[in-house]
Amino acid sequence: MTPPIEFEIRRRTLLAGSAAIAMSAGLRPASAQDGAAASTPAGDSTTTVTLTVNGEPRELTVDNRVTLLDALREHLELTGTKKGCDHGQCGACTCTVNGERINSCLSLAVMHDGDEVETIEGIGTPEQMDPMQAAFVENDGFQCGYCTPGQISSARKVIEEIRAGIPSHVTGDLNAEIAITDAEIRERMSGNICRCGAYANILAAITQVAEDQA
């Protein structure tokens, strides 16, 4: 029987290998293009941007194709923000830009020059957890934990969005104050998928934070 540690090493080696293949397939240099005029970029394929990430200014020179998600993970080594589907469907990559939650996989790093980005690393630490992080722990709001940074980043903003009066699909009166109900939370969290199915406990965690803040 293979000891767990050896399996872990093998798995990591395999992942690094396949990541390298994925990188070379996904990021073909311009010179490898077909050569026709319309397939040649009209200018530089890299851009320098300055982002404020978790309060710290960070200057980056990136290939224009690098998403905000990959800039955070691969260039700034902030791996708390997760890559799930990479197509905006799962919400694992959710972080906030200028105070609003977005899918960082569907945004280019070069679009965010001067923007303020907050990732899960900026929300709290194991020693000093944000109330939403503490509530997820207390309510077992996860199993494998992969979607959790995105869930927490989204959940904190869901409460703010309801309090700011931003209507949702399930909001009744569009011109009245919006109550924080299970239906409102569920609807607003629909862009964050949890394959372990921890939804009931995620809902409990968010409800608890909303009630504690009230």
């Binding site: 996904g26 990021l27 073909r28 040649t40 970029p41 200018g43 949702s168 699909h169 609807e187 964050n192």
Partner: protein
Amino acid sequence: MRAFSYEKVADPAAAAARAAEVEGAKFLAGGTNLLDLMKLEIETPVHLIDVNGLGLDEVTETEDGGLRIGTLVTNTALSADERVRRDYPVLTRAIAAGASGQLRNKATTGGNLLQRTRCPYFYDTAMPCNKREPGSGCGALTEGAFSRQLGVIGTSDNCIATHPSDMAVAMRVLDATVETVTPNGMTRRIPLEEFHLLPGDTPQEENALMPGELITHVTLPAPVGGTQKYHKARDRASYAFALVSVALIRQPDGSGRVALGGVAPKPWRSDEADAELPNGARAVMAHLLEGARPTEENAFKITLAERALAAMLAEE
């Protein structure tokens, strides 16, 4: 993803001029649909012109009492705008029924109108698609194809894709107009009714914009009042595209307007169908869906559209 160069420009007219000048250039606004398609190499621009920061992110009031919505106003901001919630509630309802919270925070007004179809055969690059690769055929019209989500009217033998927007359906029922700047700096106004094109023999041509032309605003006429509703029927309760959606504005005298989403290559509405509203859902749909050519898999949309409207009329 293919390599591309990237630039920011000084103003909307400069953006349009640059887009006309650089072959293979595209505008970049929210990026939520464009980047998705670039990752799949369905969209392969060689140059992106970032139009964020051009001051097109405000909703202002027009002289005739309507609203002028900047093309970069996000879906969230538009749906939450106090004037929209109060005077154009069908628009708030439609936007809130689409996508997810994260996407609505980034997706823009102009980008929403320009988003591409979610037809699975458009997305699957191993399959033929006349929209993606003109002349290659339509994967959705092959034997045994999955066409549950696809169009039933306004389609052609070359393409049965639908326009996926909810927002556009509400804007159509509100008689919105698209305002653009052309590469030579002129302003053009295109009624939303004429903005999206039917596929015919050229499904790759999806809208009335000329090369380089940039949407700058969408204007809404003065509020028309009435009871405004948006009903979206879909396979899950949230974060799914419409099988059928219905935008309804009904006046106290029973007259009104109806537009459908999820059934056609553009928001679907007709004056003849609107005129039948006092006579009920069946009369409306007899006109609105006259000449429909559904597949075996999506014929249910005809019944669903009628029942959805009947349910909305019965609610009052």
